[in-house]
Symmetry: none
Subunit: 124 residues, 4 copies
DNA sequence: GTGGTCTAGACCACC
DNA sequence: GTGGTCTAGACCACA
């Protein structure tokens, strides 16, 4: 087995946080996102770390920079974020999820029932 | 947002590893599991830490101890492990999973299709 | 016969001491108990050992922990302690006690008289 | 609180064992008891330790020595043992026992019922 | 301050 | 060998 001492880099956690905001629409397409210094202060980390995270998101074409103005969600930012997240979801999370279902003996029928928000439970 | 510096203790990770083994059947009911010192050496960790993990699993009645002989999966060890794992799955993982589905715009129908091995999908 | 070199662990003696305090009401339900370091210093023992004892009492649901604040007797702590103590009393101490009565030729009548404060014995 | 590192001397444990034998009649009045070397071998202890224990019992006039023959329970050995044990019982054990009854909320009626060997339980 | 965890190294009891 | 316990000292997270 493998021990995880620090999980993953803090900049990666911040980047994931950014992706979450874009997916949830908190950071809308084309909108300005918090400045490096501002987010660094909120999270309580070094501005360089946030810069690192923003660079990462820029490479993914989720956000873009406008010199002198700051960082903005790119015009197709949400699409990019969804595509990225989706591939991670399907290639990594879903297989693990499926394996868990098997180990716990939860069938697809069970799962659908668990995911349905009580289709006719508190009817009358 | 919250930064996670080190996450959970090593002993907890080892305990989770043990639960995985029991769930997967690698450590079968009633079977002997690696000795404290042996697993500690493999993982590269202090024996006390493994002892801590095994203590934890003993409290959960997943494993039991026989002085001078070693630790063994208890007779109903797998049941206990499934029950435990199931509750965290339903209470923690499933809600997060559901939220991800929403963010990515994956419907229950999509999900069922993704989870099915290939039940006549791309046939003609 | 069997020789007992050291008997039970120190942590166990400390735990028993804790149970005594709860039974006697010195540590009341919901009240804070001595910190790990403090009790360790008083007893002249390593803090880890007291931690071990408190862990043990936590498993028995006699005490509980509030991070950063300390350990507290749980709301039903005394009940748990009484239940625990009672079972060892009945299953272990009482049979030994009974055997002693037999060996010494003390009848139940004698015993009742010995246990009664003085219900009119040497009156008159 | 007080930590007990070794409980009490081994010789004391052996002496108590001897008293038990006399009380139970395993070592009858006037009978020869195991030789120092023999008991030492059985218990797995240094002969000096057993000698120490026998000396102690001789002081209590429970056993006596006959040069060249060995140790014997004295003619009134059992009486002496009962008297000794009784005083310990009444002065030390009984008060502690009574205190336990109080702490656990066990009344004299409860106790008598617990001590009675099912007076009419499996009647017919 | 509090608990919580980890390490390094030691000694004991059981088999 | 095995588990079980203890010490000394360290660092972290929470409040």
């Amino acid at each position: 087995m493998q021990i995880q001492p620090t999980n993953q880099g803090i900049y990666r956690q911040i980047a994931d946080f950014g992706i979450e905001q874009v997916l949830a629409g908190t950071w809308g397409n084309g909108e300005k996102i918090p400045s490096v210094r501002q987010l660094a202060a909120e999270v309580g980390v070094n501005p360089n770390t946030v810069m690192n995270a923003y660079d990462y998101l820029k490479d993914l074409e989720i956000i873009e920079t406008k010199r002198g103005l700051g960082f903005f969600v790119s015009s197709a930012g949400r699409n990019a974020a969804v595509a990225l997240r989706r591939s991670v979801f399907i290639e990594e999370e879903l297989p693990r999820f499926k394996r868990t279902l098997d180990l716990l003996g939860i069938s697809l029928e069970d799962l659908n029932q668990l995911l349905n928000p009580s289709p006719k439970t508190d009817d009358q």
